[in-house]
């Protein structure tokens, strides 16, 4: 499990990036959250063959990475980690959809490959924007923004607790795996039956911890509501950020900008 530990460590490092002093950091997390949501809705609403018209949206994550001083490689690595999920969703498109959509002379591209690429691009765009949101605001600020945007508290609190205790749980799990490894000598994998009992044991430990945390919470007067006092302030620049980007996303969604540009260039040539 050291691999998981490492991945999680890099997640915490992503959160740390939010401590950097940049203009993006000083924006209200709510404005970044709303803009990201508009972006995700815009991306997902494109049709399955709209590869070309989707491309201008790349500008958003790229400019955030540049403005926020975020190491692009870190974000790429994380996208690659989770990319198998997206690959599995689209993997059969090239098999079932063989209708030729694009033809460059003798070179033909079937629709299946285009729709597969669209899935991968959509996936990379949405995931990178979510990661950039955390890297520029910090996970707890995103939670705070959700709470201030009137997302039901139960969801916000769940999210906060998952993030707080995922580190503790992975630590516990990796200690169990290490203990197993130290006494299993040449056997490299975990026997299925042992694995099942380890998972069960982890669940019991988690329940135990949940009870102790609950005791700690009620000891300090918890009555079902978590109160956060940090205030958020949205200024003119936040409005410009949200409106400017949203208008751009909507324009990209309505007009096929690469095609328009192409026509413009071709028109200029003739």
């Amino acid at each position: 499990m050291p691999k998981v530990e490492k991945t999680l460590g890099s997640m915490a490092a992503l959160d740390d990036l939010a401590l950097n002093e940049t203009t993006l950091r000083s924006l209200d997390p709510r404005s970044k959250l709303i803009t990201s949501l508009v972006f995700i809705v815009a991306v997902t609403s494109f049709g399955k063959y709209d590869l070309l018209s989707l491309l201008p949206l790349v500008i958003y994550p790229v400019s955030l990475i540049a403005l926020g001083n975020i190491p692009a490689w870190e974000i790429t690595k994380k996208i690659l980690y989770v990319s198998p999920f997206a690959v599995f969703i689209g993997i059969f498109n090239p098999v079932f959809d063989r209708e030729i959509i694009v033809q460059f002379g003798s070179f033909a591209i079937p629709g299946g490959w285009i729709s597969f690429t669209v899935i991968m691009v959509k996936f990379a765009l949405t995931v990178s924007v979510a990661l950039i949101l955390v890297a520029t605001s910090g996970f707890d600020s995103v939670c705070l923004a959700l709470a201030k945007l009137k997302v039901p508290q139960i969801f916000v609190v769940q999210l906060m607790f998952i993030y707080r205790y995922i580190f503790v749980m992975v630590d516990e799990a990796s200690r169990m795996v290490r203990a197993h490894k130290l006494r299993s000598f040449r056997r490299s994998s975990i026997d299925f039956r042992i694995f099942v009992s380890m998972i069960g044991q982890l669940l019991l430990r988690t329940l135990d911890r949940a009870q102790r945390i609950h005791a700690a919470m009620i000891s300090r007067g918890f009555t079902g509501e978590i109160r956060l006092t940090r205030e958020l302030k949205a200024g003119l620049i936040d409005w410009i950020f949200v409106l400017g980007w949203s208008v751009f996303f909507i324009l990209v969604r309505i007009y096929n900008i690469p095609e328009l540009l192409g026509l413009l260039v071709m028109g200029g040539l003739t």
């Binding site: 607790f161 707080r164 503790v168 102790r212 300090r220 007067g221 918890f222 009555t223 109160r227 006092t229």
Partner: protein, 244 residues
């Protein structure tokens, strides 16, 4: 009326799996006393502590905090006066930042945000951890976690501090610092621990629990000087007394 008194009478508790954890425990702790609660593993220390602020309720017998008996009705008042510091600071620090964690109790007591802020800073200063205010709790060291866990309780200005194994997992220097810190507090203190040297440093009075009963309740030095008694309760003379 003083809230600083803890009185336990004939306390009995049976866990749902039929383990008899406490079998008739009685004691009275008065204003400003520091009491060490020691005993073997499974002697009932943690169960007893959980009764002191209403995380558990007695099957029979009673717990009085100040002049109130502990009941489901006044449990909120009791918790306001009894600050409980749990063994694993990871259980106690559940909020995204140290500030939110220390502010958690006062906010639940309905204090206005400005006062909460002052209290948070004051509590963190008392444990020398004010520089950690904006850190996430999972990224600070074990000793720092312990200090912050104590601050989360101090911010509610309790009269009684209840500590479960406060020195476990601390390096010697952090442990020494913690002892110095606790010595400065004027609260009534109840400390459950296996660290008998810590008890010797902080508590004039010691209660030894054995199988859910009080084996002895008396002066710390007298008790720790009695090797036969210690041996019978799975304990050992504290190191500092072995040297002398």
């Amino acid at each position: 009326m003083s809230h600083h008194i803890v009185e336990v009478k004939d306390l009995e508790y049976v866990y749902p799996d039929n383990t008899h954890a406490l079998n008739g425990v009685s004691f009275k702790i008065t204003h400003g006393e520091s009491v060490g609660l020691v005993g073997a593993n499974g002697a009932g220390k943690s169960t007893l502590l959980l009764h002191l602020n209403g995380c558990l309720f007695p099957k029979s017998g009673s717990v009085h905090i100040g002049d109130f008996p502990l009941t489901k009705k006044n449990v909120v008042d009791v918790r306001r006066h009894v600050g409980m510091i749990f063994q694993d600071p990871d259980d106690q620090l559940f909020m995204p930042r140290v500030f939110d964690d220390v502010a958690f109790g006062p906010l639940n007591l309905g204090m206005p945000p400005d006062e909460v802020k002052d209290r948070v800073i004051y509590a963190l200063k008392q444990v020398n951890a004010d520089h950690l205010i904006n850190r996430p709790p999972y990224k600070i060291s074990g000793g720092e976690k312990r200090s912050v866990a104590i601050a989360t309780v101090l911010s509610m200005a309790p009269d009684i501090l209840v500590l479960d194994e406060p020195s476990s997992g601390l390096d010697p220097k952090s442990r020494r610092k913690l002892i110095g810190l606790l010595k400065n507090f004027t609260h009534t203190k109840i400390i459950a621990t296996h660290d008998l040297d810590l008890v010797l440093d902080l508590c004039e009075r010691t209660i030894i629990l054995n199988n859910g009963r009080i084996a002895i309740d008396g002066n710390t030095r007298d008790i720790f000087g009695n090797e036969i008694l210690l041996e019978a309760n799975h304990l050992e003379k504290p190191l500092t007394m072995q040297c002398s």
